[in-house]
């Protein structure tokens, strides 16, 4: 298992705004070769927007995305070239496949778009095998509705693998699948990392998934990363009150559950100071005035997802002492 220091994809102070809504509000994140990062957060935190921005499907309002140190090309032709390196796996495998196209055509689509030289049939068979559909020839003529959910997701993954990317970005790859089938797809992603050195960014709201397959995890709230670090550290000894609350409400966790009141506020009305402070259980329980006033008024510096970090005034004070 390789965990090289080579950064493949980097979000450099990326912000994405849709009018007044700050979907992504300053994010720095690294994806390194041979590594799986989980981007965890609830709906509305901006994780899907960030994923699409990293793929070039969305233009950042400010900041830039760097692939192998160079900014992403703008314009159709340049982006098309980039697509050979970074591929997408969507959440809903049923919607992600054209219902009229056979499995063969779905996997060959990428090859044809990029006019990849070589024996197309062999390349398609190879991609299907790597995605776990064996023997691949048996699946060539099948149509999506003849396949199960797990098989469809494998076809989508095969379509991405056919282009031989170095980074895979998976948006909730197992959310629409049956429970007993999840393990197989997750095991596939791990195998791809081990055998091909494929890096992956897995966007999910499921912390258990991060525990299952990720090396590092970044927790997002309202457009910013609030905590990041190795999975063992963040998920077993979380520092940020939001992460702690998320972990405490999982049904199998022991100890009292900190159920936060209300829901994530609208991205167009980001609270001043620390964006989490209106719902923060730590603040509600009582903090010394010097810290509490900073929570309400002073915004925190951006946590670099490439390293371990926490965006919390109370934690800063504690570690400074």
């Amino acid at each position: 298992m390789t965990q090289g220091e080579s950064t493949l994809l980097r979000a450099d102070d990326v912000s994405v705004r849709f009018g007044a809504a700050r979907a992504v509000d300053g994010v720095e994140l690294d994806i390194r070769a041979g590594e799986i990062i989980a981007l965890v957060g609830e709906s509305g935190c901006g994780k899907t927007t960030l994923a699409r921005t990293l793929l070039g499907l969305q233009q950042p309002t400010s900041g830039r995305v760097l692939y192998e140190g160079k900014p992403l090309p703008t314009g159709n032709r340049g982006l098309r070239e980039y697509r050979r390196h970074a591929q997408l796996v969507l959440q809903d495998p049923t919607g992600a496949l054209n219902p009229r196209h056979s499995v063969y055509e779905a996997v060959a689509e990428g090859l044809r778009i990029h006019r990849v030289p070589g024996d197309e049939r062999a390349l398609v068979a190879d991609a299907l095998s790597r995605a776990g559909l064996r023997p691949p020839e048996r699946f060539f003529g099948r149509v999506p509705h003849e396949l199960s959910g797990g098989q469809r997701q494998r076809v989508v993954i095969a379509g991405a693998l056919a282009l031989d990317p170095s980074v895979l970005i998976a948006d909730e790859p197992v959310a629409s699948l049956d429970a007993s089938v999840r393990g197989e797809i997750l095991a596939l992603l791990l195998r791809l990392r081990d055998e091909l050195g494929l890096a992956a960014l897995v966007v999910t709201h499921d912390l258990g998934l991060a525990w299952n397959i990720a090396d590092r995890v970044a927790v997002m709230y309202l457009g910013r990363i609030v905590e990041s670090g190795p999975v063992e550290q963040v998920l077993t000894a979380p520092s940020h009150p939001y992460t702690k609350a998320l972990l405490s409400v999982l049904p199998e966790s022991e100890g009292p559950a900190t159920v936060l009141a209300g829901e994530t506020p609208d991205p167009s009305r980001v609270p001043t100071g620390c964006r989490f402070h209106p719902r923060c259980p730590l603040l509600a329980a009582g903090l010394p005035d010097s810290v509490a006033s900073r929570c309400r008024t002073v915004d925190l510096p951006i946590v670099d997802g490439a390293e371990s970090g926490v965006a919390c005034h109370a934690v800063e004070v504690a570690t400074a002492r």
Partner: protein
């Protein structure tokens, strides 16, 4: 212990299709008393949603119900149309899956909650409005939200509206079909807390359906696991989760790992193959093609649910043999 709220005796549901009868539910025995909570776990195609809909005869015309489904002692299939309408919502109600699609997008939320109240002829206009306000407060929403349209509410709020609707006619039993599946972790926790509190306060029975064993175990007293139209394990929820006595239950439990558990770190566990197609079930034990502990006898013996220990039943040859 009086009459059970809901009792199923050898309940079956078959769908008539162009290619013959497809068995969705193949003989289920269940019992829920007042104030009890039962979780029904299973994946797509196991028949759990069909079972839930069968209780109020909400299935399409191609469905044929067999066996007995007793709601408050009365057999649902024998009820006249008028009696069925009176029973629907007033004795048992359903919180449907996917609140986004179960709510009418062009009507205000308050009107939709009021609809069953008006249909059952319970009260004048002001009383109805008061009742709607009361229900909204019970589920943790301010009463003035009755004037909102569904799209103005968030996912969690919509699910609360669904729960308020289910409580509208003060039923004795609530059937919640995947109530938290599409929701975020925090919102899921809020909704589950709400359901538990309501069950306690109002002393209603709850049948909760989900594919997430840990969610069911944290909210329900008892747990039944369904596979291919039958129950394969049943018992006290906490016990079933902690010490499953059927390979399928073990697999379901392993699918959602416990954070901090070193054995699941970087080793996702799942089953090979897919949940079976009800129209094409394997012979013998329907789980045997995917079972990690399969024995040669399993492909030939159809195993039924049998007691394996105190307050636990399981349909597995491995467990049943002494």
């Amino acid at each position: 212990m009086g009459e059970p709220l809901l009792e199923l005796r050898s309940a079956t549901v078959d769908y008539r299709t162009a290619s013959g009868l497809v068995p969705a539910v193949r003989g289920v025995d269940l019992r829920i008393d007042a104030g009890q909570t039962l979780g029904l776990a299973g994946e797509s195609g196991c028949g759990k949603s069909t079972l839930a809909m069968a209780v109020l005869r909400l299935l399409p015309r191609t469905a044929m119900i067999g066996g007995e489904i007793l709601l408050g002692g009365e057999n649902v299939t024998d009820m006249s149309w008028g009696r069925l309408r009176a029973v629907r919502w007033a004795e048992a109600s359903v919180v449907f899956q996917g609140a986004m699609h179960a709510l009418n997008p062009v009507r205000r939320v308050g009107d939709q909650i009021a609809e069953p109240i008006r249909l059952h002829g319970k009260g004048s206009v002001e009383r109805v409005d008061d009742r709607v306000g009361e229900l909204l407060e019970q589920v943790g929403l301010p009463a003035r939200r009755a004037r909102a349209y569904p799209h103005e509410l968030s996912g969690g709020q919509r699910q609360r509206v669904m729960i308020a609707m289910a409580l509208a006619c003060s039923p004795g039993l609530i059937i919640a079909d995947e109530p938290t599946t599409a929701l975020d972790v925090m919102v899921q926790a809020q909704v589950l807390t709400l359901l538990s509190r309501l069950v306690d306060e109002l002393d209603i029975g709850l049948l909760m359906i989900s594919h997430d064993l840990s969610v069911l175990a944290s909210t329900c007293q008892r747990l039944a696991v369904m596979y291919a139209g039958r129950i394969v394990e049943q018992g006290k929820a906490v016990d079933v989760l902690r010490a499953p006595r059927h390979p399928y239950t073990k697999a379901l439990a392993a699918a959602f790992p416990t954070i901090g558990d070193a054995s699941s770190r970087l080793s996702p566990r799942g089953l090979a193959g897919d949940p079976p197609d009800p129209s094409d079930l394997p012979g013998g034990c329907p789980f045997h093609p995917r079972c990690p502990s399969v024995l040669p006898e399993c492909s030939g013996t159809d195993v039924l649910l049998r007691p394996v220990s105190e307050d636990r039943t399981s349909a597995c040859l491995l467990e049943v043999e002494p």
